[in-house]
């Protein structure tokens, strides 16, 4: 059991990060924190890919370095995914700013009260 956890520690960390991200997204009443939760959720998945590319004692996939190389493909994917994540965060925060300008609060429950009387 311990062996399983240690030999796959990054995957365990991935799952825990997904769990923390989910928790923050659901539990936080503050909209900015929800967006932070979304970011943690996404980085958890990035870790999954990068860990899969790793090989014990491997070098970065630069061909002038000695073999073994870690796999370059997941790195490429995650570079793209990081950019996607920032883009989403930017748009989400834009919405947060709009909501604040409109309702004067970022608290989910206060927001519901304000909107209830809309």
């Amino acid at each position: 059991m311990m062996d399983l956890l240690v030999s796959r520690d990054y995957y365990v960390a991935t799952f825990l990060l997904l769990g923390i991200g989910t928790y923050v997204m659901i539990a936080s009443r503050n909209l900015v924190k929800k967006v932070i939760g979304m970011n943690i959720f996404q980085t958890g998945i990035f870790l999954f890919f990068i860990a899969a590319a790793y090989v014990e004692g491997g070098n970065p996939p630069v061909l002038t370095m000695d073999a073994p190389h870690v796999s370059p493909l997941p790195h490429v994917l995650i570079l793209t995914a990081i950019v996607v994540g920032v883009a989403l965060t930017a748009v989400a925060l834009g919405m947060v700013v709009r909501i604040y300008a409109e309702y004067g609060t970022l608290d989910e429950e206060t927001l519901q009260e304000v909107r209830g009387s809309e």
Partner: protein
């Protein structure tokens, strides 16, 4: 297999159109509309050419950059893809005709509009799982922004919720792709299919990949109970945008689901994993039943239509779970039919709001006297949605039901056939109010316009606010005519689609 670089052009063209629409603001502000129309018209021409070739010559492939398939990113256009491409372009053009008067008019709006077209097109043509994720996010980003383009605070709240839930969906999809990738070391769909089969269909990694991808796409399709973003988003968005995204976004996500389930995992996987089959069947039945029940209980027309989508996409998922030629043809027919009917209904709801200010079910009382065209089109589309023959709503349901009978899925058959009554339940109460009641309250035509919160949003094109434009009428009437007329074209379409579906299932 034919090779054509048109497959890459259909993605590049709307991106280019978006850039031009964006930059056109340098010359003149509010110049986005003509650019978007030109780009979408060109897009329609290219997609029709591509679809005709895909149906005529068989599947078209293209590997971007000239590399070989599993190493480079492959684009594939078969009959099903062709259908989606034409649908995306045609619906966008119809919505643009409507948007001229109704919609937000800033240049960035049209730039994002074109990006949505690009994202949806990319999702349809790609044959690479990670690439599909990228386009899924482009689609998502533009859809979130479009929902937020309404000038009410409600739009922004709905959009943020849509963004958070949608991102979880896309991320679960990505995690599923990760599992499939760790399992096989490849991302190309065809290559994945071969390697997953070699690994055996009961491998935990394969099963997990399936479950995550399906659940991720369920969120995007808005299958119950993962639909929570949808009613808010559709109701909070400006009318133009709800017409567009209700017609296309879930549709293409459902197409992606179909594509991934059959191209990557295949029927053999479903046969080997009862849980996978149960996941699809369960999602389908719950969506059909509860979506309709929630639709009946809504007081706002656009929310009612949104829940109706939950129910209708249950039918599509049902077709996917049945997984034979007839049912999948039905899925394709119903995807197209639903896009036309539901897009048309949302646009009609917008037209009605523009003319009379009515937005809630009660405000629709006596509508026929105040907005005869709106009420008439709404009535026709409602009848089509219920599935009265010979409309396309009937045709889709018929194919799926025959597929269910062929497969011996009697429970599904009963639910599919019975869903007619559920659909009737929420449309009948609206139709009754529109035609057989006197208007009770005097409403003002929609003064609050979904104008993208333009600081100078007072410009209404020199017309009074209560009137709808010719383009708006044309768009909704076209939807009603198509909903009836396409019912007669379905058999011919099913015939040419058959080889595509057979290839998909083999």
């Amino acid at each position: 297999m034919a090779v054509s670089d048109l497959a890459a052009l259909v993605v590049a063209l709307p991106i280019f159109g978006s850039l031009v629409a964006f930059l056109a603001a340098l010359v003149r502000s509010k110049s986005g509309w003509p650019v978007a129309v030109a780009a979408t018209a060109a897009q329609l021409a290219v997609t029709v050419t591509l679809a005709v070739r895909a149906f005529g010559e068989g599947t078209i492939t293209y590997v971007v950059g000239g590399f070989e398939a599993p190493y480079g990113i492959e684009l594939v256009v078969d009959g099903l893809t062709g259908t989606m491409l034409v649908l995306i372009a045609a619906v966008s053009l119809g919505v643009l005709a409507y948007a001229r008067r109704a919609g937000p008019r800033s240049n960035p709006f049209y730039a994002v509009f074109m990006l949505l077209v690009a994202g949806l097109t990319g999702m349809s043509v790609t044959a690479d799982l990670f690439n599909m994720y990228v386009f899924l996010e482009i689609t998502g980003l533009s859809a979130y922004a479009l929902v937020a383009s309404g000038d009410r605070g409600r739009s922004a709240v709905a959009a943020l919720k849509y963004l958070l839930v949608g991102t979880v969906g896309a991320s679960l999809f990505l995690l599923g792709v990760g599992y499939a990738y760790i399992d096989t070391g490849t991302l190309n769909m065809a290559d994945l299919a071969v390697k997953l089969a070699a690994n055996g269909y009961t491998a935990t990694l394969t099963q997990t990949a399936f479950a995550l991808i399906v659940v991720g796409l369920f969120i995007k399709v808005a299958v119950f109970p993962l639909h929570t973003w949808q009613p808010d988003a559709y109701a909070g968005a400006p009318d133009t945008v709800s017409g567009l995204i209700s017609a296309l976004v879930s549709t293409v996500a459902a197409y992606a689901l179909l594509r991934v389930v059959f191209t990557v995992f295949g029927t053999a996987f479903l046969d080997a994993n009862p849980f996978a089959h149960a996941l699809l069947v369960g999602g389908a039945i719950i969506s059909i039943l509860l979506g309709s029940l929630l639709a009946v209980s809504q007081s706002e027309v656009k929310r009612m239509l949104a829940y109706s989508s939950v129910s209708q996409f249950g039918l599509i998922v049902a077709a996917i779970s049945i997984g034979n030629v007839t049912a999948l043809t039905g899925a394709a027919v119903h995807l197209v039919g639903h896009a036309i009917m539901k897009g048309g209904l949302f646009l009609t709801a917008g037209l009605v709001a523009t003319e009379t200010g009515a937005r809630s079910v009660d405000e629709y009382e006596g509508l026929v006297k105040r907005s005869p065209v709106g009420a008439g089109v709404f009535g026709v589309l409602a009848v089509a949605m219920v599935g009265v023959p010979p409309t396309i709503g009937f045709a889709g349901k018929w194919y799926i039901a025959v597929g269910a009978a062929e497969a011996g899925s009697w429970t599904l058959l009963a639910v599919i056939v019975g869903s007619t009554l559920l659909t009737l339940a929420y449309f009948a109460r609206l139709v009754e109010r529109m035609f057989f009641r006197e208007p009770t309250a005097d409403l003002e035509p929609a003064v609050e316009r979904a104008d993208g919160a333009l600081p100078d949003g007072g410009d209404l094109g020199g017309s009074d606010p209560g009137s709808a434009s010719l383009g708006m009428y044309a768009a909704v009437v076209a939807a009603a005519v198509l909903a009836v007329a396409l019912g007669f074209a379905v058999f011919g379409y099913g015939d040419v689609l058959q080889s595509t579906i057979e290839a998909l299932l083999s």
